[in-house]
Amino acid sequence: MEAQEAKSHSEQISHGTYVLVWLALIVLTCITVAASGINLAAFTIVVTLLIALTKASLVVNIFMHIKFEDKIFKVFLGIAGFTLFVIFSLTFADVFFRR
């Protein structure tokens, strides 16, 4: 049954989509590198993190098939993601306010 599930997941995503996502990841990495050379002051980190979030979403949904999984797995991932968001926010409470 698990094998059938895995098969149905892989059938829902075409090989072309995988290649497109892979190319998107490479492009986004290039944008990250390019953005580090532009002086956006405090927004540099925000831009970088937004790009990273987009990349992570693509990997999790397409390559890891979370898009097709049960709700419980999405909830689990949501909890982990929310915790990460809180951790980043509190770290910025230090970094952005240092004198």
């Binding site: 419980i72 909890i79 982990a80 915790t83 809180v86 951790i87 509190l90 770290t91 409470a93 230090d94 970094v95 952005f96 306010f97 240092r98 004198r99």
Partner: protein, 541 residues
């Protein structure tokens, strides 16, 4: 709790008897039975605990007189580093989840084993591998001397073998993550018919909350430790200020894991406390849902407060304010637990057995730890006592007086179930009394000395601290005497103790419905759960 009759006392054979192809030690170290793996962890943990205690005693002995009579500064640095690494990463973090959690989680939810038995065995092997790698670091380029926190920039510059020690801890992290993953899956997928989430024992709730912390927080430590190795090997400059790096970033990353890790250490003991109190009060636990939810709340709030370890580390004033405020939030769910425990005892038919007395000791010692934590959570007072003996005293009251005392108490509670034999209760009570006296003599003077300005991690001290230091040293001897008596009594109980029935304490959770020691698959037939876990019909009437 279950709608089945209590299982006969001896169901053919127990998990202690070899039934497979393998014999001797191989039947244990390659076993995928969660109970055997729990015992393997128990033996491993207490082996390292003994080493950690010896190192601690040596550190105290150094303080008998000022002036570094036994060890020089470098050796003393190595001693407290090893003591910290062994006690934290090899004993208290795996602690109750890896040992008693492994043994009792599946039984308490009516399962035959954990969801991934082989992964469970792999976790133990990773633990052993990590421990060996740490020990190897002792024989390479000198003992690591950074303290268990591996703070940069010192940890990336010291010539001692930090790389190997850090890599060992990295491996241990995987063991912890896999155990957490196993427990979460087991709780979601393997509960007996009728066991809804709110019919689970509170020990299982505590393990569940802990498992989430293990899974989410430990990877942060893993990547942080890898960054240290990368810094040492490739000199990238992530943390090194001379290369434009940020050493405070290391502290953030380290404490993002290591503060939640404190809850990995303390949540499972709190779960065990809920079990012990309700059993020996012969009453349904007061505020079941509140205690269960407070475990999750502590696990979550634990992620919000790491900055209080860094108040004097160079973080912004805004961060200092935010983290100080958030730190006080932890007191709310902790208070919920303590008040509900006390309310459970109220009008209960209390039976003063050794496990219950350990819980009483825990509440006293943990309260001192908690109240001294307020001093450290408040910005103004923290600045005065930071990096002093006050922190060492507070930490040991929380982790040793809280977590480890309940580890001992939980062992006294569940040992008859694990081995079908009872230890000498009178000796157990004496051992606790000696432990309690030794503990307070050892650590209370540290609070006083810290308040008076005695810095931690120094191999010598000013003459003004001599009296308190000596009281503390004598306390360490008494504590060790208590430990020896306690462990000897337990070990003797395992082999020669009086045989006991299935339910010597009158417990109501599922483990007390199976035989002592349990059969390999825990139950003759999977139980069907019909009512809440702490149902005492005699108290309900």
């Amino acid at each position: 709790m279950a709608d089945i009759a209590v299982t006969p006392e001896h169901l053919g054979h127990s998990y202690l008897e070899n039934t497979g192809k393998r014999k001797g030690i191989a039947a244990w170290i390659f076993s995928t039975d969660h109970k055997r793996i729990g015992i393997l962890y128990l033996i491993s943990l207490f082996t390292f605990f003994s080493v950690g205690v010896i190192l601690g005693i040596l550190m105290r002995l150094e303080m008998l007189q000022p002036g570094g009579k036994l060890f020089n500064a470098q050796d003393y640095n190595a001693l407290f580093t090893l003591h910290g690494v062994i006690m934290i990463f090899l004993f208290v973090i795996p602690g109750i989840p890896a040992t008693l959690g492994n043994f009792f989680l599946p039984i308490q939810i009516g399962a035959k084993d954990v969801a991934f038995p082989r992964l469970n065995l792999l976790s133990w092997w990773l633990y052993v591998t990590g421990a060996i790698v740490i020990l190897l670091s002792l024989f390479q380029h000198g003992l690591p001397d950074t303290g268990w926190t591996f703070y940069v920039p010192y940890s990336i510059r010291t010539g001692t073998d930090v790389t190997m020690a850090v890599f060992g801890v990295f491996i241990l992290g995987f063991s912890s993550i896999l155990t957490g993953l196993n427990f979460i899956t087991t709780i979601h997928r393997m509960r007996a018919p009728g066991m809804t989430f709110f019919k689970m024992p509170l020990f299982v709730w505590a393990l569940y909350a802990t498992a989430w912390v293990q899974v989410i927080a430990t990877p942060v430590l893993a990547i942080t430790l890898l960054l240290i190795i990368i810094e040492r090997v490739f000199s990238v400059g992530i943390f090194d200020p001379s290369k434009g790096g940020d050493p405070v970033l290391y502290q953030h990353l380290f404490w993002i894991y290591s503060h939640p890790a404190v809850y990995i250490m303390i949540l499972p003991p709190m779960g065990a406390v809920s079990e012990i109190i309700t059993t020996f009060s012969h009453r349904t636990v007061f505020g079941y849902k509140a205690i269960a939810m407070s475990s999750l709340a502590i696990a979550f709030i634990g992620y919000l407060v790491w900055g209080h370890h860094m108040f004097v580390g160079g973080i912004s004033e805004t961060a200092q304010f935010v983290f100080s405020l958030l730190t006080f939030l932890v007191a709310v769910p902790s208070g919920i637990k303590v008040f509900n425990w006390v309310a459970t005892m109220y009008k209960g038919s209390i039976d003063l057995q050794p496990p219950f007395l350990y819980v009483m000791a825990f509440i006293f010692l943990f309260s001192i730890g908690g109240l001294t934590g307020l001093v450290l959570g408040s910005l103004a007072t923290d600045v005065h006592v930071t990096a002093t003996y006050f922190v060492v005293g507070h930490f040991h009251y929380i982790i040793f007086g809280g977590g480890v005392f309940i580890f001992f108490g939980a062992l006294h509670y569940w040992l008859p179930k694990m081995f079908g034999r009872m230890y000498n209760k009178k000796v157990a009570n004496w051992a606790l009394a000696i432990l309690f006296i030794g503990f307070n003599m050892l650590y209370f003077p540290m609070l006083v000395m810290g308040y008076e300005g005695m810095p931690r991690r120094y191999f010598t001290y000013l003459p003004q601290f001599e009296t308190w230091q000596r009281i503390s040293v004598v306390g360490s001897w008494i504590l060790v005497a208590g430990l020896i008596i306690m462990l000897t009594n337990l070990i003797r109980g395992v082999f020669k103790g009086e045989k006991v029935g299935n339910n010597p304490w009158g417990g109501t959770t599922l483990e007390w419905t199976t035989s002592s020691p349990p059969p390999p698959e825990n139950f003759e037939e999977i139980p069907v759960v019909t009512h809440e876990p702490y149902y005492h019909p005699e108290a309900a009437n």
